[in-house]
């Protein structure tokens, strides 16, 4: 399931946040070789102290993390504005309560392959984007500013997610890092739903809902249940 956790729920999901920091270290430091701060096997930066909201993808028991992303409002300090200021044009510096920054998006391809072999990594990324769009719409977020490596453009495309590239910079990792605006509206979500076949995968009350009894969650197989997640909220 996909759900948001805010600082009110950090403690009860401490184990998921720990998994997230380790996953981010593996993905951004070890694999992509981004120049990012690392503490031991954790990847944390000062923006994690800003009480961000995290979009998490976990199993129904909320014990295994499959993916994560960090959300911060552009009215406050943001990673993209502060860290990328030197190399990006000033165009990245948007500021409005309905424009949010989504960074550190990553998935745990190994956990996904072992628990849900029918989902390939590209599909998994598409699902993250779908959940992100649904979660943003649910919270009146109009635009997401995100950074990504060039190959991610194909994934956005595959998910039917409208992405407008507004900047590109070298020197952060092996490949250039791009910055783009991701539009969120009912219209774009409809288009994404049509293209991906996923719908209603974001669970508004996920962080505080009691964990489901242990059983495998097969996406697509239990659509009625997934509709209820949204209906229940």
């Amino acid at each position: 399931m996909f759900f948001l956790i805010q600082a009110t729920d950090y403690n009860r999901h401490r184990h998921l946040l720990d998994q997230m920091y380790r996953l981010r270290k593996r993905v951004f430091h070890d694999e992509l070789e981004w120049d990012v701060p690392v503490f031991g096997d954790h990847k944390r930066d000062s923006y994690d102290d800003m009480k961000p909201a995290y979009l998490l993808w976990t199993d129904e028991q909320k014990t295994t993390l499959y993916g994560s992303l960090r959300l911060l409002p552009t009215t406050g300090p943001t990673l993209l504005n502060d860290v990328f200021r030197k190399t990006y044009p000033k165009d990245v510096d948007l500021c409005h309560p309905t424009i949010w920054e989504g960074t550190r998006m990553c998935i745990d391809a190994e956990e996904i392959a072992s628990d849900m072999p029918e989902i390939d990594p590209q599909d998994a990324m598409c699902m993250m984007l779908m959940a992100l769009a649904e979660c943003a719409l649910d919270n009146s977020i109009h635009t997401l500013v995100s950074n990504y490596e060039p190959h991610m453009k194909r994934i956005y495309n595959r998910a039917g997610a409208p992405l407008n590239e507004i900047g590109k910079a070298d020197g952060f990792g092996r490949r250039p890092v791009c910055c783009g605006l991701f539009e969120v509206s009912r219209r774009t979500i409809e288009a994404m739903r049509e293209k991906t076949g996923h719908t209603g995968i974001y669970a508004r009350d996920g962080a505080r809902r009691p964990a489901a009894p242990k059983r495998a969650w097969i996406p697509g197989a239990s659509s009625s249940e997934r509709v209820n997640w949204v209906g229940a909220a």
């Binding site: 948001l4 805010q6 600082a7 009110t8 800003m50 009480k51 961000p52 909201a53 959300l71 911060l72 409002p73 552009t74 009215t75 406050g76 300090p77 044009p89 000033k90 165009d91 990245v92 510096d93 948007l94 500021c95 409005h96 309560p97 309905t98 424009i99 919270n139 009146s140 109009h142 635009t143 409208p162 407008n164 507004i166 605006l181 539009e183 509206s185 009350d205 505080r208």
Partner: protein, 239 residues
């Protein structure tokens, strides 16, 4: 659409022209037909205040009751409000026995039956919480928030800056406009719609709207014509 814009314009003016934050939130309450408004500036290590900065339109009887009963340590809105980043409905809060009792008490004291809070964070990482209450419930309340929520988020930021001004006598400038924001605003000044601007600049219409929203917000204006006028006056753009 025009009417909606006008409401935000009047709201900006109400905050701007009020003598203090107390008057500002009272006028916002009346303007949006709310039951009550509360503004609470968070303590940060950057700014230390002698006492908490809280302004409210609640009845005096409730404020006294709140202090007398020590609700400050119970209040789920205050507890969660400074931890959350996203706006929230009070019905989504976590209620223990004490919290439920306090909320029942609040209804008795005419606080309202529905509540919604907007966390504010600025570039200096200062936080505040702007809360509204209503006697609307169910779908009516849901519709009200869906329609006015994004606008009220802007209002919350206006009140936040107004409060900083009131406390410290001045407030740090908003972030400067970026090149794209300036371009989009310049074309707006020349009478182009956002779809036309999108064609001219090779951007999507949504991206242009995003830049214009951001430019307007940075210029602290409720409408685009006002933002254009201000940008011209500040010599940021030449139409």
């Amino acid at each position: 659409m025009e009417d909606k814009n006008d409401l935000l314009k009047v709201a900006y003016e109400a905050v701007e022209n009020s003598g203090d934050v107390q008057e500002a939130i009272t006028r916002i309450r009346d303007l949006y037909g709310l039951h009550h408004c509360v503004f609470h500036l968070g303590q940060t290590h950057v700014d230390t205040l002698d006492r908490p900065f809280v302004k409210t339109t609640y009845p005096d009887a409730w404020v006294s009751r709140y202090l007398l009963k020590g609700y400050v340590t119970v209040d789920p809105v205050a507890r969660e409000g400074f931890l959350r980043m996203l706006p929230f409905n009070w019905q989504d809060l976590e209620y223990g026995e004490e919290q439920a009792e306090m909320m029942r008490d609040a209804v008795q004291y005419d606080v309202g039956t529905s509540g919604y809070s907007i966390p504010v964070v600025d570039r200096q990482a200062r936080r505040s919480l702007f809360s509204i209450t209503s006697t609307l419930g169910g779908d009516e309340w849901k519709d009200f928030i869906e329609m006015n929520g994004p606008e009220l988020q802007e209002v919350a930021h206006r009140v936040h800056r107004r409060a900083l001004e009131e406390i410290f006598g001045e407030v740090d400038p908003m972030p400067p406009l970026g090149p794209r924001e300036i371009e989009c605003l310049t074309w707006t000044a020349r009478g182009k719609e956002y779809t036309v601007i999108a064609d001219i600049l090779g951007l999507s219409g949504h991206t242009v709207r995003g830049y214009l929203k951001s430019a307007r917000f940075k210029l602290e204006c409720a409408t685009l014509p006002q933002a254009v006028a201000k940008a011209v006056a500040l010599k940021i753009i030449t139409p």
